[in-house]
């Protein structure tokens, strides 16, 4: 039996030896090269992630809160910039004058929508829409800016959305929304021009030559409020057999406007406007402000027949794409008195 098995065994042995030999050759030639990096291709998407944005919002809120608690505007600059910084400082001045923080705008950002930047360069801007706050106020639209890579994101501006307003749609947060240049020509009016025209409309009302570019005054919460406020104040004077007049003058602030593309090709534009409201009465009248914030600024000053209150306004406009039948409309605004004068 052994002999009969011997031949195959020999063959097997030879085969086995060959296999061993082959294996060792393979082994010898087998030096694993280090891998080379295989990065993902760059994608066009938001340069800020939703979670990063959340972190940014919390940091900004924290800084604002810290400044609120100390009623100290000094630390705000680290996280606020542009109109938001100026307006918050004005609010804090009012709060300081009043001795409480009740009039401070709530700047905790519980978001219902974020609009993230698409630009890889700087400055970068992101926007958030907050949820409806509990106190019957309207949601806010806030803009954040990172002016350069080594800067932090800062709150640039915020407005309360007007009641009954419908926000335009934006690109998905992850995809990112491109910023719109101030002189962009794809819109019914460039952002810069839209802001200037709006200031004109606010100032001159129906007499402005741009009035046709904008939605009807009855649909414009800011114009409604101004009209109502002026009428009220004049009425109060007239109630006492006086004669009064109310004037409003708006002009764009010097700072840049901020605009972001909407899904329909239009843009949402945020801009700061400075305004001066002048209430005049006949000689001998002593006018003092009625609103709590203006009152706080007015302090103990004597009233005269002229009362001037200077406001900082941030407005948000929707500018439809060029060729659209829609008109430029106000989305929201926020105004804070920053100076009062009796002469």
């Amino acid at each position: 039996m052994l002999r009969s098995g011997a031949l195959p065994a020999t063959r097997r042995a030879v085969a086995g030896l060959t296999a061993v030999g082959a294996a060792s050759v393979l082994l010898a030639g087998c030096t694993v090269e280090p891998p080379t990096p295989a990065p993902e291709a760059p994608v066009v998407a938001a340069v800020v992630s939703t979670s990063q944005e959340r972190k940014i919002l919390d940091r900004v809120s924290g800084a604002v809160q810290a400044a609120d608690d100390a009623t100290d505007a000094g630390t705000l600059a680290a996280r606020l910039t542009g109109p938001a910084l100026a307006m918050r400082q004005a609010e804090l001045r009012v709060a300081e004058a009043r001795g409480d923080n009740k009039l401070l705008t709530d700047l905790t950002f519980e978001t219902q929508q974020v609009i993230l930047p698409l630009e890889q360069g700087w400055p970068r801007s992101s926007f958030v829409i907050t949820v409806q706050p509990p106190d019957n106020a309207t949601p806010a639209l806030a803009a954040f800016e990172q002016s350069s890579a080594r800067e932090q994101y800062k709150l640039w501006g915020f407005v309360h959305l007007a009641p009954r307003v419908t926000m335009p749609r934006f690109a998905e947060a992850e995809l990112g929304s491109p910023a719109v240049a101030a002189d962009d020509t794809s819109l019914k009016a460039s952002p810069q021009a839209a802001v200037e025209q709006y200031a004109s409309v606010l100032t001159a009302g129906e007499d402005s030559r741009y009035t046709d570019n904008f939605a009807a005054a009855d649909d414009d919460e800011l114009r409604l409020q101004l009209r109502k406020s002026g009428a009220n104040q004049v009425a109060q004077i007239e109630d006492k057999d006086g004669e009064g007049s109310f004037e409003v003058a708006y002009e764009p602030a010097k700072g840049p406007v901020k605009a972001v593309r909407t899904a329909d090709g239009g843009a949402v534009v945020l801009a700061e406007l400075l305004s001066l409201e002048t209430l005049k009465a006949e000689e001998g009248w002593r006018l003092t402000p009625a609103t709590p914030s203006a009152k706080a600024l007015w302090g103990d000053a004597k009233g005269t027949d002229v009362m001037k209150i200077a406001f900082r306004n941030t407005v948000a406009l929707y500018v439809p794409p060029a060729g659209s039948a829609e008109q430029i409309g106000l989305l929201g605004f926020h105004r804070v008195p920053y100076a009062v004068s009796n002469g």
Partner: protein, 459 residues
Amino acid sequence: MVQRFLATLLILAGLGGIGYGVATATVLRESDTVVATATPSGDGTMVVTEPGVLGLVDDQVTVRATVPEGQKVTLALGSDVDVLGWVGEDPYDSVTGLSSWETLSVAPGTGLATDEEGEEASDEPAEKPSTGPDPAGSDMWITEVSGETTVQMRWTEQPGRVVLLAAGVGKGAEAPTLELTWPRPVATPYLWPGVLGGGFALILGVFMAIGARRSKKRGGSKGRSPSGARTRQPASDLPRRDAVFGVDGDEPNQYPDESHGGYPPALGDAPDGGTAVFPPSAPGMPGQGLPVQGMPAPDDEPTQSWGPPAPFGGAAPITPEPAPAPEPVAAPAASIRGMRRSRRGQGPAAAPAAPAQAPAQPPQFGGAVPEHTQPAPAPSGATAAAQAAPAPSGKPMTRREMRMREQAERRAATGTQPAVPAAEPEPQPEPEQQTPSSRAAAWRQTWGVTGNDDGGSNR
């Protein structure tokens, strides 16, 4: 000679293969981690990895940055755009990949610099800024860590182009030395092939060696004086056969009980192998076997049910008709469970009821199924059957002859007289040729003999 040489070679190769296989999994095994270091070129205070470098070896990476004692160092992770944007026009080192398993390749970073700025950048920023800017705290970082001298950070690679920024911070800062550590799944691809292949070669070699030795001996037996091993060889082969066939007069006496146990399996084998040596023994044994068997039986449980099926082992399925059999249920079970179990149960069971055992016998013959139905055949019937067994195969004689020869050979060997021609062993059936059932029988013989009494009881 060739065989011996080959055998030696095989054994050596087998040992070598096993050794190598084990070695690749132990001493030669690669490290579980890849640790690669980047030494900065000296320009700038920052080191930036290129996209993809962090996940080069594994998704899990541990980053370690070291700066001269007492200096501050910051590690930050961010998208490549953010990081390069932050670095701006400052000079930095770019980690581009692995130049070897221990070294990261470092190149002066080109940054995001646009065309014109790039030109400037190559001139001016070549000078190292006196103060290393600190990236710590930026909103853009996914994660960051700062510390003195050495900082460490773990990162699990995520989708996106995440890169690392390591910066020496402060006055006189230097770019940190980076160390990236990845776990690496170390395969031991040669362990089992080596061990198994080596083992195979080894076994083959051993067999060959034995074969060589044997054939040599056999060669010697032809003409020369037999060696001591010679006696051993037949002995190793024979015992088994002896047990199986139980022909030798002495054997049954030596192991009265066992011999009986042994027969039944042998019977079963007979038909298959065609080596029905049994018949002769059967007639002789019955008488002896019966009484002996009867004795032990009593204490055992009446689990006769096992009995019938057991003997057949594999034969059971062949007997579908026997449905009427005493314990129809048990039979299939036993057949399913396999022989070992049936055998165990059977031994004892068989004894108590001799009649019941009768059916057991048929199976031994394989085709004898019908007998199943006759529970009562009693010993006499069984003996008859046993006697019949020899008939089926006419070979018994040759087998016997062989055995006789073997015996003669054995005796001759012991008597130092090579009486048997060398060619004789060859006709012997190879063990490998055993059919499964015969192998089982052999197994039974070796291990289970003691319990298997049915054959005896039948008779």
